[in-house]
């Protein structure tokens, strides 16, 4: 961390890597060289970041968070950022055999020679890939064993809102939007190094913790009650904050990143350019961690979005633009925006997509507008819960009437396939709630055939297991065990098959419940779960988000060993309902949501009481804006030189 600045640039490992590339699958994912990638001179910079999305390149390269931070940091004159991704097991084995360290894809520099190693966790299933990367990099797995020659290991992304399961492995966690936090950390590291790194690694961690920019787990002690619950989490020193708050970037028009998105040479999961049209969501779906931890809603202006689309396309040559957000049809200017973009690009090969799952006719109108050229294949909607009752529990305010009206509009506008997303294992759910999905899908096909006059229309039901997440009203809920999840899904499958009239037009896609239990353990776990992750990794766990690599039995065996002395087990972390008074592992991490409001919302859920969206109704005191000093920004207007958010 501190010594490399005085030495020359670390040598590229490409020469060594080139020797093994012919021996591995998809070698192009390791060579870098993407359009808009940046390689800065090592000696011209004083703060060097390596950013990792801990999954395969094809999944990680399109990630917006990493692309944004890559540009933000590289935009600082004396800072640089490079990227690294998880290597597949075939390359991992060869790297171990030949002593090739974890490397960046930009300049192929060893990860250990950087100052800060930032990892973005969209999902907890990337934890084992972090351990592989640390180990291949030659960085000690445990933060406590690291020296001044090791980078600061900093976790971000949604999973960082409960970093306790990886507290042993990370030096710090940043909660919330990363743009300004990355710049603050860059400043801290620069100043510290300029002073000659007084006090070494420990002092730098202290400065990080004191500033509040990041949560440094090693400065907090966790005490447990005899029954295994947490007694309290306390800072070790008086100058360490009791709680660490999330970061919120306001005025999105001032943060128009990525300006020149990366164009991967290798095939990736999203072959398109994304433009984030707003951040945050206040629909209030109780299962949705993203909607809870990214409040308030902050829209980018229509003009700002248009210029990002135009500039991004000319910088990349992409042929598809995705208008990204948690619920894109909710942007207050979405109709004029899609019309003007469609007008602009209708004669080109550029197509626009709206990854939105809102269930209403307005959404179909937008989809029609975006498919003027006549490409109307499939539309996706997310009712999430199978019955009206269950949708009240999760606060997904969609009636069956809404859904049928929406799909009727879609089929009569020429769409041939409708995809419906659901979850299984939601709180208070019964078999009957899930079986309602079969009935609803049959009704969709019935009206679809009626309005389209065709028999070749289809409806695909996609259903996944629900995993309760921290900082949501369901953080206290019991997760459904995987046996019951699988049994319910089997009932649903049989019910769809049994429908002789419509069953053949209904597709069912589902995953078994076992991976959800591991995700649940990692999501709501505490520091004791760190030993489980390490054990599973030592036993070979890699790429846990990939069904061909995931091994449930390996995880359970690892948990049995690692939790043996603790008195708690996997069921305790997953299928156990928590009480109001229990200290949750993430209570000292502040997402802005008022704990009492969350608890009331949980009680409302059980009583099937819905709550409105604060964009269109008065504030209902979730706590975020007051706690964080933020406010809703709808249809912002650029008034030079300052940007003013108009509050509605």
């Amino acid at each position: 961390m501190t010594t490399t600045s005085n030495l020359g640039a670390p040598e590229s490992v490409f020469g060594q890597l080139e020797q093994v590339l012919p021996l591995v699958a998809k070698p192009i994912q390791y060579v870098g060289g993407e359009v808009n990638s940046v390689i800065k001179e090592w000696s011209d910079t004083s703060v060097r970041w390596v950013l990792m999305y801990p999954d395969a390149y094809e999944v990680g390269a399109p990630n917006q968070g990493v692309q944004i931070l890559y540009e933000v940091i590289n935009g600082v004159q004396d800072a640089l950022a490079e990227r690294t991704y998880a290597v597949w097991p075939d390359l991992e084995a060869l790297m171990r055999e030949r002593g090739i360290p974890q490397f960046t894809v930009d300049a192929h520099r060893p990860v250990r020679s950087f100052d800060v190693f930032g990892l973005s966790f969209a999902t907890e299933l990337g934890y084992t890939n972090m351990l592989t990367a640390l180990d291949l990099a030659g960085i000690p797995l445990h933060a406590v064993d690291r020296t001044d020659d090791d980078p600061l290991v900093v976790a971000g992304g949604h999973a960082a809102f409960n970093p306790e399961p990886i507290a042993d492995f990370i030096d710090a966690a940043v909660l919330g939007d990363g743009e300004q936090a990355a710049l603050t950390i860059t400043d801290l590291v620069r100043d510290f190094k300029a002073e000659g790194s007084p006090g070494g690694r420990g002092e730098l961690l202290l400065r990080l913790a004191r500033s509040g920019v990041a949560y440094v787990p090693s400065f907090y002690d966790v005490e447990y009650l005899p029954d295994g619950r947490i007694r309290r989490v306390i800072p070790r020193n008086a100058d360490i904050p009791w709680r660490v708050a999330k970061h919120t970037v306001m005025d999105l028009d001032d943060w128009d990143y990525p300006r020149a998105p990366l164009v991967p040479l290798a095939e990736t999961v999203h072959e398109r350019m994304s433009v984030e049209i707003f951040r945050g969501c206040t629909r209030g779906c109780r299962f949705c961690q993203a909607g809870m931890i990214t409040r308030p809603v902050r829209e980018r202006s229509k003009a700002g979005i248009e210029s990002m689309v135009e500039r991004g396309l000319s910088a990349t040559g992409f042929e598809e633009v995705g208008l990204l957000s948690l619920s894109s049809a909710d942007h207050s200017e979405i109709a004029p925006l899609t019309t003007s973009l469609a007008d602009c690009y209708t004669d080109s090969q550029v197509s626009l997509s709206l990854p939105s799952t809102r269930v209403d006719a307005f959404n179909v109108d937008l989809a029609n507008e975006l498919s003027r050229n006549g490409r109307r294949s499939g539309l996706t909607f997310a009712p999430e819960g199978g019955s009206e009752r269950l949708r009240r529990v999760i606060n997904k305010q969609v009636s069956e009437e809404d859904l049928i009206r929406t799909v009727t509009t879609a089929y009569s506008a020429g769409w041939r396939q409708v995809k419906l997303y659901f979850m299984c294992g939601l709180p208070t759910e019964t078999d009957e709630d899930v079986l309602q999905i079969a009935r609803m899908a049959a009704e969709v096909i019935r009206v679809g055939r009626e309005v389209s006059g065709r028999r070749d229309i289809r409806c695909t039901v996609s259903i996944g297991g629900f995993v309760p997440k921290p900082h949501t009203p369901f953080q206290w809920a019991a997760q459904l065990d995987h046996e019951t999840t699988d049994a319910r899904l089997a009932l649903l499958r049989d019910a769809i098959r049994a429908n002789r009239e419509y069953g053949k037009s209904i597709g069912l896609r589902y995953h078994d419940g076992k991976p959800g239990i591991v995700e649940g353990l990692l999501s709501r776990g505490d520091r004791r779960v760190g030993a489980v992750i390490e054990q599973a990794w030592r036993d070979g766990a890699r790429f846990d988000g990939w069904s061909e690599h995931f091994d449930y039995d390996r995880w359970m065996a690892a948990a049995d060993r690692a939790l043996a002395e603790t008195g708690v087990d996997v069921a305790w972390f997953t299928t156990r309902e928590r009480e109001h008074v229990e200290v949750l592992p993430w209570d000292h991490l502040d997402s802005g949501l008022d704990r009492e409001w969350l608890w009331e919302d949980w009680q409302d859920a059980v009583e099937e009481v819905e709550v409105e969206d604060c964009r269109w109704t008065p504030c209902f005191d979730c706590g975020v804006c007051d706690q964080m000093g933020t406010h809703i920004q709808i249809a912002p207007v650029q008034i030079a030189p300052a940007t003013i958010g108009v509050r509605e």
């Binding site: 020469g15 020797q19 093994v20 590339l21 012919p22 070698p27 090969q349």
Partner: protein, 214 residues
Amino acid sequence: MAFSSGFSPHPKISYANAAPTGTASEAEYVEIAVVERVDPQGLAADLDAALPPGLDVVEVVEVRTSDFADRLQASGWRIELLDIPPEQAQEAMDALWSAESVEVSRRTKSGMRSIDVRAALVAGGVEEQTRPSQGSGPAAGCAILRVVVRQVTPTVRPDDILAALRSVAGLSPAVPPQVTREAQGPLGADGVTIGDPLEQDRENRADEAASTGA
């Protein structure tokens, strides 16, 4: 740029005999269809600006003929065997030449296929690396194969040539060989040298220029 018609239009680009993954090439040919006439030099410069380092556009020629891909009759490969002395490589190459046919198996999209490497072989010799080692390149004294193979179906790749040498003479380099395609094109009258596949298009252009001038 031209796009295919149909449900999901794709850019009209065709890669003729693309070199296999893991090999270098100095002779790849790509046909790109455009919707309006463009200046070849300008297009070359624009493409070069967008391509990653190491991928260079050598030349852009306007197509005047329709049988371009058919003119890629043979491929010339340079195979650097970093840990094999020239004598050993020569013995292996001699064994390959003296065999009547050498079949190797490779997994293709349609399952395991048997390929006769000897039948496709039109030239093949061994040179000695005389330059001192540069980076990860070969050290002086190691063998360099220069091989020309006829374009057949399925294509005989450098891997197949190496498999054939292993099968006839037990040649098995421990260090992965560095393979570079040096040329592609029509076979000359001698049946060994590779000509310029773009020659006809260039000649036509010259004719046209001459007639315009007159």
